[in-house]
């Protein structure tokens, strides 16, 4: 043995040393890896206005593409159109959209969960920016701009959540330990928080959006949304004041054919399509060319709600016929993907709604003639005679009718209007066999009730 060892001593010692040397490598250094090329650490991102800008813009891209305001079938324009009386369902059985059409939502409906999750994801992104932009890396102007936009988004998204789900947690932090056991805030409190956020946003945002395309919120945008929020919370004076503020600073589009073109002066806020020639998701989603329709069509009751000679029916509704029967689709957006440029963007806030908000507020404030003139401005553009509605109730009905035909297929106005005016059970109860009073609220997604018992109880009826 000794001999053997001697014989191989030099060789073995060197090999053993080499092996041991390799083992010494076995330390923290070897398993240290760099931040990968596709991630950017928060510590880096929040030192540069350009990267924060990219983070901010992702929220608009998601509003456009994913939830709530998107023009595709996952958005409120489609889902609430089905839920109320704007659309008939023609798709094959089994899509989540079908449960909306039948007013038979289950707490497990994937669209209900997507709206919830997607909304809070956007709120998280807004809160992250609010927490991230600080001196000394950013100037006061930059902080005001990013904070204003983030607060606007936070208010906007919570506004849709509260109108859909009732009491909802108002999330103001990115801390998941707090957010995972969030309690539901009362509707009035949520409205209060929304108003606080939007009013603050209004002071922080620039007076005019910098690109000139109105694709990001500015002071006017915040005011326009506030007008709606005040209207929904029946604060008529403030609703009228905010609407007036917007109206005074925005020009009126007189040609119904141009209302949805991206240059239209009456646009307050719109979402830019992803790339040139993409145009809006709404156009791709709503327009169909075959009869019977492959997915959905406007209900005959909506189409029949237009008065004789209403130019909006002519310009904003498309028709497909198989020879014996006709079907209709929203034709506000006419330009589809595949064109060389974008003629239309997805409009979120536009001036006509502000007139109708002010008209409604004015009726409640007793200023009936001013309300009439607001309505008539819209009727004139539609080629209709001035309204002959008189008195409080008639005017309110006239405004509801005008809202129905003006704002159809735009982010669920019809549903929200029926709901906030208390007429929903009468209207939908008569025409939709699945409707019952509990349907005014969506169910809280089942998984969230399971994961956070503080969200209990479930909304009634689910």
């Amino acid at each position: 043995m000794k001999k053997l060892i001697k014989k191989y001593k030099t060789k073995s010692v060197s090999i053993i040393i080499f092996t041991l040397a390799l083992s010494l490598w076995s330390c923290e250094d070897f398993i240290e890896v760099d931040t990968p090329n596709y991630l950017i650490g928060n510590d880096v991102l929040y030192t540069d206005a350009k990267t924060v800008e990219a983070a901010m813009l992702s929220i608009y891209a998601k509003l456009r593409d994913n939830t709530l305001l998107t023009g595709d079938a996952q958005g409120l324009s489609t889902l609430l159109g089905q839920y109320a009386d704007e659309f008939d369902y023609y798709s094959p059985y089994g899509l989540p959209e079908e449960q909306f059409n039948k007013n038979a939502l289950l707490a497990s409906n994937t669209s209900v969960a997507q709206i919830w999750d997607g909304s809070y994801n956007q709120i998280y992104a807004a809160n992250a920016i609010l927490e991230g932009v600080k001196v000394p890396y950013f100037s006061q102007e930059e902080i005001a701009q990013f904070s204003g936009e983030s607060l606007f988004i936070r208010g906007l998204v919570h506004f849709y959540l509260v109108t859909l789900y009732g009491d909802v947690p108002y999330i103001k932090t990115t801390n998941y330990l707090l957010n995972q056991e969030a309690h539901r805030d009362k509707v009035v409190d949520v409205y209060q928080y929304i108003i606080e956020d939007l009013e603050t946003a209004r002071t922080l945002l620039p007076p005019n959006e910098s690109s000139g395309e109105r694709v990001r919120p500015d002071q006017k945008t915040a005011a326009a949304l506030l007008a709606r929020v005040y209207l929904y919370s029946q604060n008529w004076e403030k609703a009228a004041a905010m609407a007036s503020l917007v109206i005074e600073n925005t020009s009126w589009e007189t040609n119904p054919e141009n209302v949805f073109l991206k240059e239209s002066p009456s646009i307050i806020w719109q979402l830019q399509p992803e790339f040139d020639g993409r145009n809006t998701l709404e156009a791709g989603n709503f327009i169909f060319e075959t009869a019977p329709p492959p997915t959905r069509a406007l209900t005959p009751s909506l189409v029949n709600a237009f008065e004789q000679g209403d130019l909006r029916k002519e310009h904003w509704i498309g028709t497909v016929t198989d020879g014996t029967q006709s079907w209709y689709y929203p034709f506000k957006y006419k330009h589809q993907a595949g064109e060389p440029t974008n003629a239309e963007y997805s409009i979120i806030l536009r001036l006509a709604e502000q007139y109708l908000i002010r008209a409604e507020a004015r009726v409640h404030m007793g200023d009936l003639s001013a309300a009439q003139s607001d309505i008539n401005l819209i009727r004139t553009r539609a080629g209709l005679a001035p309204t002959n509605a008189n008195g409080n109730e008639e005017l309110q009905n006239a405004i509801m009718q005008e809202r129905r035909v003006e704002l159809f297929s735009e982010h669920g106005h019809r549903f929200f209007d029926l709901k906030r005016t208390g007429s929903i059970d009468n209207v939908l109860g008569n025409i939709k066999p699945g409707w019952n009073g509990d349907d005014i609220l969506f169910p809280i997604p089942q998984k969230d009730l399971l994961l956070n018992p503080n969200l209990q109880p479930q909304n009634p009826g689910y």
């Binding site: 090999i15 990267t51 992702s58 608009y60 993409r278 699945g434 994961l451």
Partner: protein, 998 residues
């Protein structure tokens, strides 16, 4: 693993003893000389070989380098014997150096040298739980994925095929699901010592035809495999430390064999079809259902889009859509050639194979796989240095539709219109029929290549002490794409090729590993020591880019992304993973009777945050071969083998994504105002650390009647704690989950029984049987503060993880004709989630298999029956309400029709009865959709005939193979294994083959 060969070991041994003790000493007078040499087997030097001068008492044993020396005369005959090898006799003659190659006796148990990864161990002396499948068993199966070849062949290893589509995936669970999260229970794959990824490079959105990403093991050709070992218990897996918790699958490729150079050529051809179809309504039954549904709903005038029944479609047509869409025959062809041979010092193998299979879908689709395996082993003359190089290259090419057609095959009304019109064009029936064949224009294509190269150098410094290094490189490239040309749409929509789009995924993974290792073996009297120590350096980079392009001037250009008008890069990621470890083993062996095995590993992984990266794992295993004790031999003579073994130890799991500890943003793949946008990547947690899995095992191995009956019974208990999971979070946090350690413990217990018998054995006829049974039990044993956690409504302490909390289905109300459910909270309504209180197990109860092998002269017949006792989601989980415009299985004929009825199905509804629709919606969340999914399947049959070697020296074997020949089940749905109504069931394959060896 089949070890029914042990009896001949006894024969060989007794024969050698006979020679030793009964010999007259005739050759004493001849002049003696010293004969020396090296004894090797196909793998290199063989130590412990008994060398005997025939008919004398003289002899010797070869040392660790295979060297021996013995004195003998020229007239003598040397007899070489070694347990598990064929006896060799060589005349001495004039030689003084005699190098001998020993040949494995496949008929002997102890020949079964098992690969335990870093070391080898004989089946007899192993202390851990290691299951094994050999080339012989793999080659009997006409499969393209190595995992398919393991199905039903190993106790404790549950492999479920998730789709019958070629290239699709498998779910592998070794001794149950350890992790609370649904993923993260994948085993560690090691191919020739190199870790092989268990995660696919594929993108699920691109390969949606398979329902998941394509199987990563496509990169290995089953016929290139010599053996697959599965390490199950702590003793066997602890040396793999952090990655061993879910078991380790060791794949060893074929190596060159010592002997004359042999050329082997083989070819097979076969056919495949879907294993099982559903029994659906015919046109008459279907239309009756529809009419009844509308009548129930009070609708007398059929709606405009009820084409099947309102007169738009011909109501006398009948099409068996399963036959049309899934009923084609898939063809299989394989071609193989290999050359192997070598001397004691050099052995080589070159093997190439080609495989092609088509699909059961209409249209021209196929899956091709080419592989090239080469292996070279060199040993220096002095046997000091041993070098082995293996290169394995596999390329596969898959062309499939983008949908598996199961959905239309089951759902299309039986009176739906013809697929083609008189002009031979796709028929859209005036836009009333969404023609399923239009989807044939949308293609999934994938091309991947896998390169596995490894080298192993072993240098023996001095007797018993060797240094080795294992070096490996693995590179996988994948290109896959999913097209959606405008022609999948009804031409009436007027969509041109500007709407055609493609989603393409390009991915690459490269990984290298270096493992220097020291090994020392020493025999001290009756005590054998074996010590091993090594260290691992591994680095892996993974790159993936998924792109979407839309708008082509012509569909012919659809694969040219630069021809598209719009491009979006959906993701573009490069990940790096680094891993470092030291490992070791100490084995003490007293007289091959008492064996103690200690293993351990210290691991560091870049997947964890700073300060959390290192952890230790270790195990102790012991075995007592009590069958070799004198008192047993005397007291229980019928017992030919007896061993008790046990082990306890820990291994870990680091199967989580990289970089979860970083607080960071990630690109969204979409832009706004022309600027690519960024979003928060995830909720970050810098504090998560290792998950540990403590495994305990106790096993008894017995052999009776000269090992004609062998019984192995193993009991295991694994406990996983400090569960590393993406803890699900409510949406209000902005994210679905966060990576963290959960203070919960999951226990997997089970019993594995394996019985091998030699029923008949004579010169011409051998009949052996192997029976296996696995009874797994899974339980959540502790979960502090479960009630307050996000898992409160998902798990129950003391219950299995595969539990679903559902509505309790209470039958069809005889009055209303609607499904009813238990109202747990008594509020008069069925509400979510308050009434989701019925715990229903969805999973495996036990499983087993029975294999019989009968050999008569040159004819060999083998079959495997697989049985799984389980529950699963039946077709009602996802089907439409009966009465809608979708076909139904004949089960729904048993339904409510009038007050007083009950039935399987509630009253038919066409969707206009809201109560019926809501009851249907509840029903799909109720206990009714979980039912028995047990099945008995004739998994594999093979028949082969070897034509005796002709004068030309050509060997020939003819064989027939069949897979999934028949299935017996009460499952209500398509296939009890895949269960889902979206996935293609496994195929029944029958093939014929010829193999020539020259």
């Amino acid at each position: 693993m089949k070890n029914y060969y042990r009896r001949s070991y006894a024969y060989a041994l007794s024969f050698a003893l006979f020679l030793t003790y009964n010999s007259p000493l005739l050759s004493q007078n001849q002049p003696q000389k010293t004969i020396s040499g090296i004894i090797t087997d196909a793998d290199g030097p063989l130590s412990g070989v008994n060398v005997q001068v025939k008919n004398t008492a003289r002899g010797s044993i070869s040392d660790l380098d295979g060297r021996y020396s013995v004195s003998a005369s020229a007239n003598d005959m040397l007899v070489f014997t070694y347990v598990g090898y064929k006896l060799r006799e060589v005349a001495v003659g004039t030689a003084s150096i005699m190098n001998v190659v020993m040949e494995v006796d496949a008929q002997a148990l102890d020949a079964v040298v098992i690969n335990a990864g870093y070391y080898k161990v004989s089946d007899r002396e192993k202390t851990g739980s290691i299951a094994r499948v050999t080339a012989e068993e793999i080659e009997r199966q006409p499969v393209s994925n190595p995992l398919a070849a393991l199905q039903g062949r190993m106790a404790g290893v549950n492999i479920v095929q998730t789709t019958g589509v070629p290239g699709g995936g498998f779910s592998v669970r070794i001794r149950g699901r350890n992790s609370i999260r649904a993923d993260g229970s994948e085993p560690l794959y090691i191919v020739d010592g190199i870790p092989y990824p268990s995660q696919s490079l594929g993108n699920t959105e691109v390969s949606n035809v398979m329902g998941q990403a394509q199987s990563p093991l496509n990169g290995i050709s089953p016929t290139d495999i010599e053996s697959i070992e599965v390490l199950k218990d702590a003793d066997a897996t602890a040396i793999y430390g952090s990655r061993g918790a879910n078991g380790v699958v060791l794949i060893t490729t074929k190596k060159g064999k010592v002997g004359k150079t042999t050329l082997t050529l083989g070819t097979t051809t076969g056919v495949g079809s879907v294993t099982r179809r559903m029994d659906l309504l015919n046109t008459e039954q279907y239309l009756a259902m529809r009419r009844e549904a509308f009548a129930n709903d009070g609708i007398s005038e059929y709606p405009a889009n009820a084409y099947d029944i309102n007169g738009t479609w011909n109501q006398t047509r009948y099409t068996d859509w399963q036959e049309v869409l899934l009923g084609n025959t898939a063809y299989y062809n394989t071609l193989e050639a290999s050359i192997t041979g070598g001397s004691i010092n050099n052995q080589f193998l070159v093997k190439g194979s080609h495989r092609k299979e088509t699909t059961v879908f209409p249209g021209n689709f196929d899956y091709k796989k080419n592989s090239l395996l080469s292996s070279y082993t060199h040993t220096t003359e002095d046997q000091k240095l041993r070098l082995r190089v293996t290169g394995n290259y596999v390329s596969d090419n898959n062309r499939l539709p983008t949908t598996a057609f199961v959905h239309p095959a089951v759902n299309l009304p039986p009176n739906a219109p013809a697929l083609y019109n008189e002009n031979g064009e796709l028929n859209w029936e005036n836009s009333t029929f969404s023609n399923p064949l239009a989807q044939l224009a949308a293609n999934y294509r994938s091309q991947s290549s896998t390169l596995l190269g490894n080298g192993n150098i072993t240098y023996t410094l001095f007797k018993g002490f060797s240094v080795s290094a294992n070096l490996g490189y693995n590179e996988i490239h994948l290109e896959e794409s999913n097209t959606n040309p405008n022609t999948v749409y009804d031409p009436a929509f007027g969509l041109g090729s500007e709407y055609s789009s493609i989603t393409a995924n390009t991915a690459k993974r490269s990984s290298w590993i270096v493992e220097p290792q020291l090994e020392y073996e020493y025999q001290f009297g009756k005590m054998g020591f074996s010590i091993l120590a090594g260290t691992t350096f591994q680095s892996e980079t993974r790159f993936g880019r998924t792109q979407y392009a839309m708008g082509f001037t012509s569909n012919n250009l659809i694969y040219d992304l630069s021809s598209a008008t719009d491009h979006i890069i959906l993701s573009n990621k490069e990940d790096e993973y680094r891993y470092n470890a030291v490992y070791g083993r100490i084995n003490l062996n007293w007289e091959s009777k008492y064996i103690l095995n200690l293993t351990g590993r210290r691991d560091g992984s870049s997947r964890f945050g700073p300060g959390k990266r290192f952890a230790n794992f270790g195990a102790v295993g012991a075995a007592w071969l009590f069958g070799d004790e004198e008192f047993i031999k005397e007291g229980l003579p019928f017992l030919s083998f007896g061993k008790i073994r046990g082990s306890y130890g820990s291994s870990g799991n680091d199967q989580i994504g990289n970089y979860g500890y970083l607080n960071s943003y990630i690109g969204t793949g979409t832009s706004y105002q022309g600027i690519p946008t960024l979003q928060p990547a995830n909720l970050y947690n810098p504090d998560y650390g290792w998950e540990t899995n403590r495994k305990m095992e106790l096993a008894l191995e017995l052999g009776f009647l000269k090992d004609r009956i062998n019984l192995t019974t193993a009991f295991y208990r694994n406990r996983s704690s400090s569960q590393l999971v993406g803890i699900p979070l409510p949406g209000t946090t902005g994210f679905p989950s966060i990576q963290a350690n959960l203070d919960a413990t999951v226990e997997n217990r089970g019993l594995e029984i394996e019985l091998n018998t030699v029923n008949l054995k004579n010169e011409n006829l051998t009949w052996t049987t192997t029976a296996q049974l696995t009874v797994p039990r899974n339980k959540l044993i502790s979960f502090p503060n479960l009630e307050g956690s996000t898992y409160a409504n998902q798990f129950v302490v003391g219950e299995p993880l595969d539990l679903a909390l559902l509505l309790n289905y209470t039958g069809v109300d005889p009055q209303t004709g609607l499904y009813t459910f238990e109202d747990y909270d008594g509020d008069g309504n069925i509400s979510f989630p308050n009434d989701l209180k019925k715990p229903v197990r969805v999973g495996v109860d036990y499983y087993g298999s029975l294999t019989n092998t009968i050999t008569y002269k040159n004819l060999s017949f083998d079959f495997l029956l697989q049985y799984v006792k389980q529950t699963g989601y039946n077709f009602q989980y996802t089907s439409a309400p009966a009465g809608f415009m979708a076909n139904q299985p004949t089960e729904v004929l048993d339904h409510w029709q009038q007050p007083g009825d009950q039935g399987f199905n509630q009253q038919f509804t066409a969707g206009f009865n809201e109560d019926a629709y809501v009851a249907y919606s509840y029903h799909s969340y109720s206990s009714a959709v979980v039912s028995d999914a047990s099945f008995l399947r004739l998994k594999n049959v093979s028949l082969s005939y070897t034509i005796p070697k002709t004068a030309l020296g050509v060997g020939c074997r003819i064989y027939g193979l069949a897979q999934n020949l028949f299935t017996i089940t009460d499952f209500i749905g398509m296939d009890p294994e895949t269960q889902s109504l979206g996935q293609l069931p496994p195929l029944r394959v029958m093939s014929l083959g010829v193999e020539l060896s020259i």
